[in-house]
C-alpha cells in the first residue's frame, strides 16, 4: 500500500515516526504551515519556521525515504494577532519556492474580520502564484464556517476546483462536494474523524476527490492513521484500487496542480558509514 499523507506536521514528530510511517507505506507527505501550540510574537518567527519547512524537514524526511513538500501561509488563529499579521508581506518570497505545493493552512478559526482579510488575501496570493489552496474548516461552528469559507472562495480569483477543504465530517462533506472542492478528512484518535466513520463516508460519497490525512502534530494524534484507514477500507470491501486512489492518486492529483510535486526520493549514491545522502530525483 503506497500512502501520501497530504496533511501532517512532521516538525513536531520524531524520527521513530518517520521510520514507522515508511514501514506502513508512507512515501510522501505535505506539511502545511500552521500554529505551533505556543503563539508566535513576530514575523521573524514565521520566517525561521518556513525556512525549516523548506530546509531541515525535507532533508530529515529524505533520510527515511519520504518525499516532503510543504504549504506556506499565515494560519487563521495567528491572523488575529497584529504582531503576526505582517507576515502576509513576506509570503510572496516563499510562494515561489520549488517545494511549496499550495497556500495553506488558511481558513477560519473564530471567523473574525482579521481572518476574513487573511483568507481573502491568501486566496489571491494562491491565484497569483498558480498554486492551489489548503483551506481548513474551523473546529467550532463548523458548518457556518464552511459556508462562509465557500463564499469567500467564490469571491476570490481562485477556482473552487483548486481548493482542498480540510477537516470535513458528516455535517460538512455534502456542501463541500457540491461546491466542487477537493475533500479532506483528518483522522484523529479522539476528535475529528475515525477510521470507521471515514469508511462510511467513502461508502456514501465515493472516493472521488477524497483525501485522507492524519493531521498529526504536537497534540494527541497518530501518524499511522492513513494506513489504518486503508486497512479499514479493505476490511470493508473496498478494492486495492480504491485505496490507492484515496491514499495516493488523489493527493498526487491535488498537489500536482502546483506543477511542483517531485515524488521520487532516490539514493543519490552509495551510503557511507551507514549514512546515505538522499535527495529528490526527477
Amino acid at each position: 500500500m503506497r500512502i501520501f499523507d497530504p496533511h501532517i506536521h512532521m516538525t513536531s514528530r520524531t524520527t521513530d515516526d518517520y521510520e514507522a510511517m515508511y514501514a506502513a507505506g508512507v512515501r510522501a507527505v505535505v506539511e502545511p504551515a500552521f500554529w505551533l501550540g505556543q503563539p508566535r510574537t513576530s514575523p521573524a518567527s514565521f520566517v525561521d519556521y518556513f525556512d525549516s519547512l523548506l530546509g531541515w524537514e525535507p532533508f530529515r524526511a529524505a533520510q527515511y525515504g519520504i518525499a516532503h513538500h510543504c504549504t506556506i501561509a499565515l494560519n487563521p488563529k495567528e491572523a488575529n494577532d497584529p504582531r503576526c499579521a505582517p507576515v502576509l508581506d513576506v509570503l510572496p518570497r516563499y510562494l515561489v519556492k520549488d517545494n511549496v505545493v499550495a497556500v495553506g493552512e488558511i481558513g477560519y478559526d473564530s471567523m473574525t474580520p482579521a481572518e476574513d482579510h487573511a483568507l481573502a488575501a491568501q486566496l489571491g496570493l494562491a491565484a497569483d502564484h498558480e498554486l492551489p489552496a489548503l483551506v481548513h474548516t474551523p473546529h467550532r461552528d463548523k458548518l457556518t464556517g464552511l459556508r462562509r469559507t465557500l463564499d469567500v472562495v467564490r469571491e476570490s480569483p481562485l477556482p473552487l476546483e483548486r481548493v482542498l477543504i480540510d477537516h470535513l465530517n458528516e455535517t460538512t462533506v455534502k456542501e463541500a462536494k457540491d461546491a466542487g472542492c477537493w475533500l479532506g478528512f483528518s483522522v484523529y484518535p479522539d476528535t475529528k474523524m475515525d477510521e470507521e466513520r471515514m469508511v462510511a463516508i467513502l461508502r456514501e460519497y465515493g472516493p472521488d476527490q477524497v483525501l485522507v490525512n492524519s493531521a498529526a502534530d504536537w497534540g494527541k494524534s497518530d501518524p499511522l492513521k492513513t494506513r489504518k484507514v486503508g486497512d479499514a477500507m479493505l476490511d470493508a470491501g473496498f478494492s486495492d484500487d480504491d485505496v490507492d486512489r484515496v491514499l495516493w492518486r488523489n493527493p498526487v492529483a491535488f498537489y500536482g496542480l502546483s506543477g511542483r510535486l517531485v515524488l521520487d526520493v532516490t539514493d543519490a549514491g552509495p551510503t557511507h558509514e551507514g549514512n546515505s545522502i538522499l535527495r529528490g530525483g526527477e
Binding site: 524520527t15 518517520y18 521510520e19 515508511y22 525556512d51 523548506l54 530546509g55 531541515w56 525535507p58 532533508f59 530529515r60 533520510q63 527515511y64 525515504g65 508581506d89 513576506v90 509570503l91 510572496p92 518570497r93 510562494l95 515561489v96 519556492k97 520549488d98 517545494n99 496570493l125 497569483d128 502564484h129 498558480e130 506543477g259 511542483r260 517531485v262 539514493d267 551510503t271 557511507h272 558509514e273 551507514g274 549514512n275 546515505s276 545522502i277 538522499l278 535527495r279 529528490g280 530525483g281 526527477e282
Partner: protein, 242 residues
C-alpha cells in the same frame, strides 16, 4: 580537484535539458545578464506586490521545477554567474534561500567571490546538520579561504555526519603535514574505540594524507576491518550532531 568552469557547466546543461527547460534557461539567463532591470512585460503573474526582487531572482528560485531537481544546481549557478551576483546579493539569496538554493550559492562562491568575504555563508552551512549543505560548503572556496581551525573541524564533522571526505575540495593538499589534524583524528579514533564503536574508514584515509610520522592515540580499528553499516534509516541518529 579542478572544478569545471561555469561555461562548461552551461554547455553540459544545455545538452541534457529538454526543449522547454532549455528555452526557460535561455530566457532566464538573458534576464539575468541584463541585470536587475524592471520586470515590465517579463512575467504575467510575477512578481507579486511586496516581492521587490529582480525577475532573475525569481527564476533562481523556480529553477528546480523548470529544469528538474537533478539539474537545478547547475541552472542556478549559471544564473548567478550571468547576473554577476555580488557578495551582498549572494548573502541575501543564501539567507532567503531553500536548502537547494543555498547549495547553489555555495557552489557559486569560487566563481564569483575572489576574497574571503563570503566565508560567513560557509560557516553557516557548516553549522547545519544537512549533509548536502555541509558537503557543498567544503568545495574549492572553503579550500582556499577557510582558516585551519575551522577547516579541521569541518573535516571532523564530515566523519561525524557521514559526509564522504571525497567531497572535501583539496583534501590532500590541505591535510598534508597537518599535525594538529592528525592529532584530532587520532583522538577521535581513540574515543570511538574506547566506546566499543567502529572507526569510520574515511578517518584512516585522511590520517594517511596528513603524513603524520606516527598516528597518535591508542590502537584504533585497523583499516582492513569491515565497517559496521548501520541501517540508513538510523542515519539521522547518533551520527548527527545535535
Amino acid at each position: 580537484m579542478t572544478a569545471p568552469s561555469v561555461a562548461e557547466l552551461h554547455s553540459r546543461l544545455e545538452a541534457v535539458l529538454g526543449g522547454a527547460a532549455r528555452a526557460w534557461l535561455d530566457q532566464a539567463t538573458a534576464e539575468a545578464t541584463v541585470g536587475p532591470a524592471t520586470d515590465t512585460g517579463q512575467s504575467a503573474h510575477l512578481p507579486s506586490p511586496g516581492l521587490a526582487a529582480p525577475v532573475w531572482e525569481l527564476r533562481f528560485a523556480e529553477a528546480g521545477r523548470r529544469c528538474g531537481p537533478d539539474h537545478a544546481d547547475a541552472a542556478r549557478l549559471v544564473l548567478l554567474h550571468a547576473a554577476r551576483a555580488d557578495t551582498a546579493t549572494l548573502i541575501r539569496l543564501y539567507e532567503q534561500g531553500t536548502a537547494a538554493e543555498r547549495r547553489a550559492v555555495l557552489t557559486a562562491l569560487p566563481h564569483l567571490v575572489p576574497g574571503p568575504e563570503a566565508l560567513p555563508l560557509v560557516e553557516d552551512a557548516l553549522r547545519t546538520n544537512d549533509t548536502r549543505l555541509v558537503a557543498t560548503a567544503l568545495g574549492p572556496y572553503a579550500a582556499t579561504h577557510l582558516p585551519p581551525h575551522d577547516w579541521r573541524h569541518a573535516v571532523l564533522k564530515c566523519l561525524f555526519t557521514g559526509v564522504p571526505v571525497d567531497s572535501v575540495a583539496d583534501l590532500a593538499r590541505r591535510s598534508h603535514g597537518d599535525i594538529e589534524l592528525a592529532r584530532m583524528l587520532g583522538d577521535y579514533a581513540a574515543e570511538r574505540t574506547a566506546a566499543g564503536r567502529t572507526v569510520p574508514g574515511d578517518l584512516y584515509r585522511v590520517l594517511a594524507l596528513t603524513d603524520a610520522p606516527d598516528p597518535p592515540g591508542p590502537a584504533a580499528t585497523p583499516p582492513g576491518v569491515p565497517q559496521r553499516h548501520a541501517d540508513p534509516l538510523t542515519s539521522t541518529g547518533e551520527e548527527q550532531e545535535s
